[in-house]
């Protein structure tokens, strides 16, 4: 939304936003906790409220077209997009394209946690969506793997919804999330926090039954004789985000294999002229305010690119 508004402000009048969900706002809609907008709006807002600010701005500009439930299935190097909607198949060509596709979460398999594959293993984002959007509680005795902000926020959310959070397990020496979240999510609720530990095995055939936990050294190697077990029915995996750039990779954009983000010297630019990336799919930011600022820059860059093309 920020990119569209910025492009408009900088002179672009023909703008279409393609959103795959049934409402605008993306992941912010399920981030019901406060902490957004401190820089951008100088207020403390919840995720949905932050998104609402931009939706309001968007509603002031009816010329910016919005297409919901629109899923892009193909992108070519000539910026031809194919997208599907319930009941319609569409193909359009963009003069400039801004990708704001955000991130997906790293899965249990990517961090190689051995053991069984029962029900009860969730990414933090999935658990968050289940609880905050659908009103479904996926676990009552939870172990959280990874102390990034999402994991910490979900620790608190589970406790508030009546579940028991048995532990937060972090492989690094210290928490990977903001200190304020360690205080208000873990310390406030006396949740056992194990740094320099990892899960060595998941147990349970149908549903999670327990986890084996071991201490690790600074090289992440298991320290002998430190194994203990925690009984639980759910494991929340919160071990990092991966920018979603598969579409632009399909179009031939050069992607850095390590970060899954485009390789290019210019900010928000990619190896395809007129194709820009912004927000978390450009770089994983800590706070949404940075995402909005970055997206505005991308909108401006796109506008400048189009102006140059007209000459």
């Amino acid at each position: 939304m920020a990119a569209a508004l910025s492009a408009y402000k900088n002179g672009v009048k023909d703008i279409l936003i393609l959103e795959r969900d049934e409402y605008l706002g993306g992941i912010l809609n399920q981030c019901i906790h406060p902490g957004f907008g401190i820089d951008y709006f100088k207020e403390i807002l919840t995720g949905p409220e932050y998104a609402r600010r931009f939706i309001n701005k968007l509603e002031q500009v009816p010329r910016i077209e919005v297409s919901l439930r629109s899923f892009v299935v193909d992108l070519t190097k000539d910026k031809v997009l194919t997208f599907l909607k319930p009941g319609s198949f569409n193909r359009i060509k963009a003069k400039a394209l801004i990708m704001a596709t955000g991130c997906r979460e790293k899965t249990r398999e990517m961090v190689h946690i051995p053991g069984t594959r029962p029900a009860g293993i969730f990414s933090a984002g999935l658990a968050q969506k289940m609880i905050n959007i659908e009103g479904l509680i996926p676990g009552k005795k939870v172990v959280i793997v990874g102390s990034g902000d999402i994991g910490l926020i979900m620790a608190r959310r589970f406790v508030l919804e009546g579940a028991q959070v048995k532990a937060v397990i972090e492989i690094q020496k210290q928490s990977q999330g903001l200190l304020r979240n360690v205080v208000q999510c873990v310390q406030d609720y006396n949740i056992p926090f194990f740094c320099q530990h990892k899960i060595s095995k998941i147990h349970g055939n149908s549903r999670v039954e327990k986890v084996s936990v071991v201490k690790v050294d600074k090289n992440f190697k298991t320290v002998a004789n430190t194994e203990f077990e925690i009984e639980c029915d759910s494991i929340l995996i919160s071990v990092g985000l991966i920018p979603e750039n598969e579409l632009i990779e399909m179009a031939g954009v050069k992607i850095d294999k390590n970060t899954n983000t485009p390789v290019y010297k210019g900010l928000n630019k990619t190896s395809i002229k007129g194709l820009f990336v912004c927000g978390n799919s450009y770089k994983v930011y800590d706070i949404v305010d940075s995402v909005s600022s970055d997206s505005e820059k991308a909108g401006q860059s796109a506008a400048e690119y189009l102006k140059r093309g007209k000459k």
């Binding site: 906790h33 609402r52 200190l179």
Partner: protein
């Protein structure tokens, strides 16, 4: 006595060193702004937290409506608050900012506020 706190007012998370006497804050250091000072006093003398959760919707375009307290509430009231929130149901269209419970938990000036607009379908 001395106590170390992490300020939670903003993402910076300043480490505050607080000198306490007779359960009252005497001196604060380590804060970058005035919010830190206010936080330190509050955290020692009457710890409070912002509470956000969701309320069930019925007949609306959203199944769960996010809500928040308009100001931090006493930490000790959090679970009582969650119990009350779970009893609520929203059946009509509401806008972000609407108050659904005034003087929540009998706390003066504390309201439970809608954080996302929704409409009847």
């Amino acid at each position: 006595m001395n106590k170390t706190l992490t300020c939670i007012e903003c993402p910076k998370g300043c480490i505050l060193l607080v000198k306490i006497q007779h359960e009252k804050v005497k001196e604060i250091s380590g804060n970058i702004c005035s919010k830190g000072k206010a936080y330190a006093v509050s955290e020692i003398e009457h710890p409070c937290r912002m509470l956000t959760s969701t309320v069930c919707g019925k007949g609306l375009n959203l199944r769960m409506i996010p809500v928040k307290t308009n100001a931090p509430i006493p930490k000790s009231d959090i679970f009582k608050a969650m119990k009350e929130i779970k009893k609520l149901k929203i059946r009509k269209s509401v806008c972000a900012g609407d108050i659904i419970v005034r003087n929540f938990l009998g706390l003066k000036g504390i309201n439970l506020v809608v954080a996302r607009s929704c409409s009847r379908i």
